[in-house]
Subunit: 204 residues, 2 copies
DNA sequence: AAAACGTTTGACCGGGCGGTCAGGATCACG
DNA sequence: CGTGATCCTGACCGCCCGGTCAAACGTTTT
C-alpha cells in the first residue's frame, strides 16, 4: 500500500494545496524569507491546520526539494548515447527549456537554494548530480573524440545549457522588462536562438 | 562639497563596514531572510549603532542596489560600435565574466532581487537597462545586417551572455560540486569555453 | 444513534524581529 | 583644558515568527 493510497481524500487535497502554496512563497522569498502564515493564507488554511499536515516549515521545504531533484535530472538522463549527437543535445536543450517555461517556480525554488549555498541539497549535488553529469560528459567527450560533434568541453557545455535555459525562468522579470510587451513570447525567441546557437557550436 | 568629503573618517569606515557586511548577508539570504542583528554582528557593530548610520534595513539594501546598477551596466556601455564586431562582443563576455569572478556577492544580490520579482529595481530595468540594451542591440543587428557577424537575434545574444557569465557566480556551489576539487578553477575553463562558443557562433 | 476517528480552530508561548531612546563615551578643535 | 559635536550602547517596545495544545467540529463506521 503506497503512502498515496493510505491517505484520505481530504489529506491528499490539503497536502497538495499546502505544497502548491509553499512552492509559490518559497520560490519568491527563499526559505528564511517565507513565513508559515503566508503559506497558510495562500493555501486557504489556518496555520495550526497547516502544521497538522506537516510537522514543520523545514519539512514542507524538504518535501518540495526532494520531489524537485528527480524532475531536474530527468531530461539529462534521457540523453541517449546511441542517438544522433547533435539531435540528442538539442533535445536536451529543448526539454530543459520546456521545464523552464512550464515550471518556473520550481526553477526559482532551486535557484534560491543554490544561491543560499545549497545547505539542504549539497549532498545531492555532489552525489547524484555529479555522477550523472560525469556519465553524460563522457558520452559527449566520446562524440567529440570521434569527430561526430565539434571539439568542446563537455562539462561547460552542460553548464551552458543549464545557465541558458534556467535564465528564462529565474530572470523572467528582467527578460520581459528588456523585451517590452510587443516583442513576442520570450520562450519562442529563446528556442529559435538556442537551437541556432548549439547547432553552430556543435556541428563539426 | 561631495557627500563623501562631508563625512568623518569614522563615518566612512563604519558605512563601508556596514555595506560590506550587508552585501554578505543580503546576497546569501535575500532581503527578507537577512536580519539586522546578523549584519551588525558581521560588521562588528551594535544594532543601534548600525541604525545610527542608516535609517532602516530598507535603506541599506537600497544603497547597495543603487551602487550596483552602474557597475552592472558599465561592461555593456563599453561595447564600441566602431570596433571589430567579434572582438567587441568577446570583450563584453570577458568583462562580464571578470565581474562574476571578482564580485560574486554583488551578482547574487542582484539575482536575489530579480528572483523576488525585482520589486525595488523594476523601474531601472524598464528604464536605464532597456534603453541601453535597445541601443546596443541595434549596433549588433547592424553588424549582422552588414555580414560582419553571423545572423543572430541580438537580444537573446545579450541574454545568453548574461546567463552564461552570471551562472558561474550565482551557481558557484553547484558548478564546484559537479566539477569536484581536481578539475581546476571553474573560471579558467569557463573563459576558454565561452570564447570558443561565441567565436563559433558569431564568425560569419 | 453513538462511538471512533479524522480534521479544524482560537488562544497561547517563548523568542527573535525591526526600530527607538536617553544618556554615556569619545572625539575634534579652540 | 574645556566644550560642543559626534559616536556608541543597554534597555526597551510592539509585533510577528515557528510551533503547541486542548477543545470543538465533521465524517465514517458499527
Amino acid at each position: 500500500m503506497s503512502p498515496e493510497n493510505s491517505r484520505t481524500r481530504i489529506q491528499r487535497r490539503n497536502r497538495r494545496a499546502i505544497l502548491e502554496a509553499a512552492l509559490e512563497v518559497f520560490s519568491q522569498h527563499g526559505f528564511r524569507g517565507a513565513t508559515l502564515d503566508q503559506i497558510a493564507a495562500e493555501a486557504g488554511l489556518s496555520k495550526p491546520n497547516l502544521l497538522y499536515y506537516f510537522p514543520s516549515k523545514e519539512a514542507i521545504h524538504e518535501t518540495l526539494l526532494a520531489g524537485l531533484m528527480e524532475t531536474w535530472l530527468a531530461p539529462l538522463r534521457m540523453l541517449d548515447p546511441a542517438g544522433d549527437p547533435v539531435e540528442e543535445i538539442l533535445g536536451y536543450v529543448r526539454r530543459k527549456l520546456v521545464l523552464s517555461r512550464d515550471f518556473p517556480r520550481e526553477s526559482r525554488l532551486f535557484a534560491n537554494e543554490i544561491l543560499q549555498g545549497a545547505p539542504r541539497i549539497k549532498p545531492s549535488l555532489e552525489g547524484e548530480l555529479k555522477a550523472l553529469v560525469d556519465e553524460k560528459a563522457q558520452v559527449i567527450a566520446g562524440w567529440a573524440a570521434n569527430g561526430r560533434i565539434a571539439d568542446i568541453d563537455p562539462y561547460h557545455l552542460i553548464f551552458s545549457i543549464w545557465a541558458l535555459t534556467q535564465h528564462y525562468a529565474d530572470f523572467d522579470v528582467q527578460v520581459r522588462a528588456v523585451l517590452g510587451t510587443e516583442r513576442g513570447d520570450p520562450f519562442e525567441g529563446a528556442e529559435r536562438y538556442l537551437v541556432t546557437m548549439f547547432t553552430r557550436l556543435l556541428t563539426p
